[in-house]
C-alpha cells in the first residue's frame, strides 16, 4: 500500500490538534468520532460478557461461574449492548456525521447541545461501569419489579441512574436531528428528495423524543422505591408489578425500532449505490420508516401476553403487532426489487447489506411467531425469543452498522479500507452469526428457558453449536477493528466519491472541510439519480455566508 501523503488541504481532522480540540469540539463530525470510539469500547465490553455467557453454557451444570455471577453477566451484557452500543450506534455515529452533510447544512441545529449529549452519554457510561465494577446488577436488563425494587441486593440504583442519564443523551440527539431536518435543508431539498437515511433518522428521532422519557421515569420510580420503600410497584402495598412492565415496554419496544430503523436507512443507501439504481418505491420506503416509528408505540403489550395482562388487552396488542410487521415487509420487498435489473457490485458494504436483508427477514418473520398469541404462550421467555431479537439486533442492526462504517469510511477518514480483508470479515461474521443463533431457535421450541445458568442435559448439543458459532463471530468482529485502524495510517487515499455514489455527502472532498461545503449546494432532483452524472443534479449557489 503506498502511503503518499494527503495533499496539505485543511479539513475537519487537521484543522486543529490536541486533546482540547477534540474534547471541546462542536463539529458534528468530530463528535461522531467521539461517539465511535466510546461505543466501540462498550461493544467489546459487552462482547466480553457474551463470551463468558457462551463459555458457561457449554456444559449443562454451572461450572464456570456461580449462579449470581452468571445472572450479573447476562444482565450487564444486555445493559451494555443495548443502552451503550446499539441505541447510540448508527444515530450517534453515522447520524451525527451524515445528517448535516446529506441535507447540505454546515452543522446540526444545536452543536453545543450535541457535545453535551456525548458528555451525558459518557457520564451514564461511568455510572454503569462503576456499578459493574462494584459487583454488577443481577436483575436482567428488563429490571422487572418486585425483584429489582425489593428482592435484589445488587447495586440496581447505580445502574438505573446510569441508564437514566444516558437516556437524556439520546433524547437530546433526537431533538437535534428533528429540528435540523425540519429547518436546515439545502435550497431545493424538499422532503421527497431527501435520502432515505434521513427519513430513517427522522423516524428514529420521533422514538427518541417520545419514548425515552417514559423509561427514564419508570427506572427512577424503581430507584425511588428501592431507597424509600414506597408502594408503587410493591404488591404488599397493593401495587401492581405489571404497571412497571407497561411503563418499561412502552419505551423498550420502540427502542428495538430505534436500533433497526437507522440500519434500514443505511441499507437503503447501500442497496441503491451498489446496484446503481434508484430505490424501488422511494415513497413507500420513506413512509414505512415513519409508520414503523408510529405503530411501534402501540404494540408493547406483546411482551406481556403471559405476564398477567388481561386476555382482551393481549388480543388488542397481538392485532396491532401484526400491523407493525407490514411496513418491515414492504421495505424488504422494495430492497429486493431495487436489485432487479441493477448493476450489482459485491463490495464489502454490499455484502453486509445483502446479509442484512436475509437475516432481518428471518428475524422479522420469527417476530410474527411471537406476535401470534398462542405461539407466544409456548415460546415466551425461551431461547426462541433470544434468537429472534439477536437476528434483528446483531443480524440486522450490527450488520447495517458495519456496512455503513465501511461505506462512509473513505468519507470520514479520506482513506480506503483493504477490500479483500473486509469481504473475508463479512463472510466470517455471516457464518459465525448463523451458527450461533440458529440453533437457539430450536432450543426455544424445545422449551429451554432464557437466563438459565443450569439446563437439562438434552439441550447441550445445541448449546455447544451456539458457543462454537460465538467464537467464530468474535473473530469476525475483531477483524474490522484491526484493518480499519490499520487503514487510518496505511489505507490508500480515497477521492471525494470512491463508490461513485449519489448524495450530497459525496459532493464534498473527503475528509470534508469543517463547514462541509465550500458553497451551499442547490438540489434540483432526488438523491438517487444514478442514471445522470452528479453535475446535472447539484449546482452550487452563492458562497456560504459565514
Amino acid at each position: 500500500m503506498n502511503t503518499q501523503t494527503m495533499e496539505r488541504r485543511q479539513h475537519y481532522l487537521n484543522v486543529s490538534y490536541g486533546i482540547k480540540s477534540w474534547l471541546f469540539t462542536t463539529d458534528h463530525k468530530r463528535i461522531a468520532w467521539l461517539y465511535l470510539i466510546s461505543i466501540t469500547f462498550f461493544f467489546f465490553i459487552g462482547g466480553l460478557f457474551a463470551t463468558l455467557i457462551r463459555l458457561e453454557l457449554l456444559t449443562p451444570q454451572g461450572d464456570l461461574v456461580q449462579a449470581e455471577t452468571y445472572n450479573k453477566l447476562f444482565t450487564m451484557h444486555g445493559v451494555t449492548m443495548i443502552f451503550f452500543f446499539l441505541i447510540p450506534s448508527i444515530p450517534a455515529v453515522l447520524g451525527n456525521f451524515l445528517v448535516p452533510m446529506m441535507i447540505g447544512a454546515r452543522d446540526l441545529a444545536f452543536p453545543r447541545l450535541n457535545l453535551a449529549s456525548w458528555y451525558i452519554f459518557i457520564l451514564g457510561g461511568l455510572f454503569t461501569l462503576t456499578a459493574a465494577a462494584a459487583g454488577g446488577v443481577d436483575t436482567g436488563w428488563t429490571f422487572y419489579t418486585p425483584y429489582s425494587s425489593i428482592y435484589s441486593n445488587t447495586n440496581v440504583a447505580l445502574t438505573v441512574m446510569g441508564i437514566f442519564t444516558t437516556g437524556f443523551s439520546s433524547i437530546l440527539t433526537g431533538l437535534n436531528f428533528v429540528v435540523t431536518i425540519h429547518r436546515m435543508r439545502a435550497p431545493g431539498l424538499t422532503w421527497f428528495r431527501l435520502p432515505l437515511f434521513i427519513w430513517a433518522m427522522y423516524a428514529t428521532s420521533i422514538i427518541f423524543i417520545l419514548g425515552t422519557p417514559v423509561i427514564a421515569i419508570a427506572l427512577t420510580l424503581v430507584a425511588v422505591e428501592r431507597l424509600f420503600h414506597l408502594g408503587i410497584f410493591d404488591p404488599a402495598f397493593g401495587g401492581d408489578p405489571v404497571l412497571f412492565q407497561h411503563l418499561f415496554w412502552f419505551y423498550s419496544h420502540p427502542a428495538v425500532y430505534i436500533m433497526i430503523l437507522p440500519a434500514m436507512g443505511v441499507e437503503s443507501e447501500l442497496i441503491t449505490c451498489f446496484s446503481r439504481k434508484r430505490p424501488f418505491g422511494y415513497g413507500f420506503i420513506a413512509f414505512s420508516s415513519v409508520a414503523i416509528a408510529v405503530i411501534g408505540f402501540l404494540v408493547w403489550g406483546h411482551h406481556m401476553f403471559v405476564a398477567g395482562q388481561s386476555v382482551h388487552a393481549g388480543m388488542v396488542f397481538s392485532l396491532l403487532s401484526m400491523l407493525v410487521a407490514i411496513p418491515s415487509a414492504i421495505k424488504v420487498f422494495n430492497w429486493t426489487a431495487t436489485l432487479y435489473k441493477g448493476s450489482i457490485a459485491l463490495d464489502a458494504p454490499m455484502l453486509y447489506a445483502l446479509g442484512f436483508i436475509g437475516l432481518f427477514t428471518i428475524g422479522g418473520l420469527t417476530g410474527l411467531f411471537l406476535a401470534t398469541l398462542a405461539v407466544d404462550v409456548h415460546v415466551h421467555d425461551t431461547y426462541f425469543v433470544i434468537a429472534h431479537f439477536h437476528y434483528i439486533m446483531v443480524g440486522g442492526a450490527v450488520m447495517g452498522y458495519l456496512g455503513g462504517i465501511h461505506f462512509w469510511w473513505p468519507k470520514m477518514t479520506g482513506r480506503t479500507y483493504p477490500e479483500p480483508w473486509a469481504r473475508v470479515a463479512a463472510l466470517i461474521i455471516f457464518v459465525g452469526f448463523n451458527l450461533t443463533f440458529f440453533p437457539q431457535f430450536v432450543l426455544g421450541f424445545l422449551g429451554m428457558p432464557r437466563r438459565y445458568h443450569v439446563y437439562p442435559p438434552e439441550f447441550q448439543v445445541l448449546n455447544v453449536m451456539s458457543s462454537a458459532g460465538a467464537s467464530i463471530l468474535a473473530v469476525g468482529y475483531i477483524l474490522p477493528l484491526l484493518y480499519l485502524i490499520w487503514s487510518l495510517r496505511y489505507g490508500a487515499i480515497a477521492g471525494a466519491n470512491p463508490w461513485r455514489a449519489r448524495g450530497l455527502e459525496w459532493e464534498t472532498p473527503s475528509p470534508p472541510p469543517t463547514d462541509n461545503f465550500e458553497v451551499t449546494p442547490i438540489v434540483t432532483e432526488g438523491a438517487y439519480a444514478y442514471e445522470k452524472e452528479p453535475e446535472e443534479v447539484y449546482t452550487f449557489g452563492e458562497p456560504a455566508r459565514v
Binding site: R106, F110, P213, E225, G231, I232, G238, L247
Partner: protein, 216 residues
Amino acid sequence: MSNSDMVHAHQFDDFAQQHEASWNGMWVFLGTEVMFFGGMFAGYTMYRYLYPQAFASASNHLDIVLGTINTAVLICSSFTMALAVRSAQLGARKPIMIFLLLTILLGTVFLGIKFTEYYQKWVEHLIPGYDFSYEPSLARPAAIFFSFYFALTGVHALHMIIGIGLLTWLIVKAWRGRFSREYNTPVELVGLYWHFVDIIWIFLFPLLYLVGRHLG
C-alpha cells in the same frame, strides 16, 4: 439594524432560521417533558381506578385551601412571566427585570407553601415508608396515593427550582442589557418552560387535591 445581519451561529443562514429552530427545539423538549410526567400520570390513573375509596379518603387529607392558593400563585407567576416575555419583545430593559423578579418571587412563594404542606404531611405521619400511619383498612392503597403525591409534586418542585435558576440567569443577562427587540430568544424559551411547569401543576391540582371531595 435589520434582521439579516444580526450575528447568528455559523450553521444557520440567517437569524430568523436560528430563532425558529430554537423555538421548535424548545417545543420538542416540552414534548419529552410531557412524556416524562406522563409515566407517573399513567400509574396514577391506573391506581385511582383500582382503589377509588382509598384515593378519595387520602385526597381529603390534603389541604385544599393551600392547594388552591398555590394554583393561583403559579398562574399569577405565569402571568408575570408572559409580561416579562412581552417586555423583552419590546426591548424595554427595566420591565423585563421587574417581571422576572416578580416571577421568581411567586415561584419561591409556591415552593414555600409546598414545603409547608410537606412538613404537615411529616407531622401527620403521612410519608410512605417512614412511619406511615393511616386508617388500617385503607393504609396500603393510601400509601400508594401518597407515593404518587410525593413523586409528582417532588418532580414538579424540582422543575420549579430549575426554572428559578434559569430566571435568575435571565435577570443577570437582562441587567447586562443583552436583550433587545431583535434578540430575546432566551427569555421566550424560559417563558415556554415556565408556562409548561405551570400547566403540569394545573393538572396536578385536580388529580391530587380534588379526588372525592364531595364524599366529605
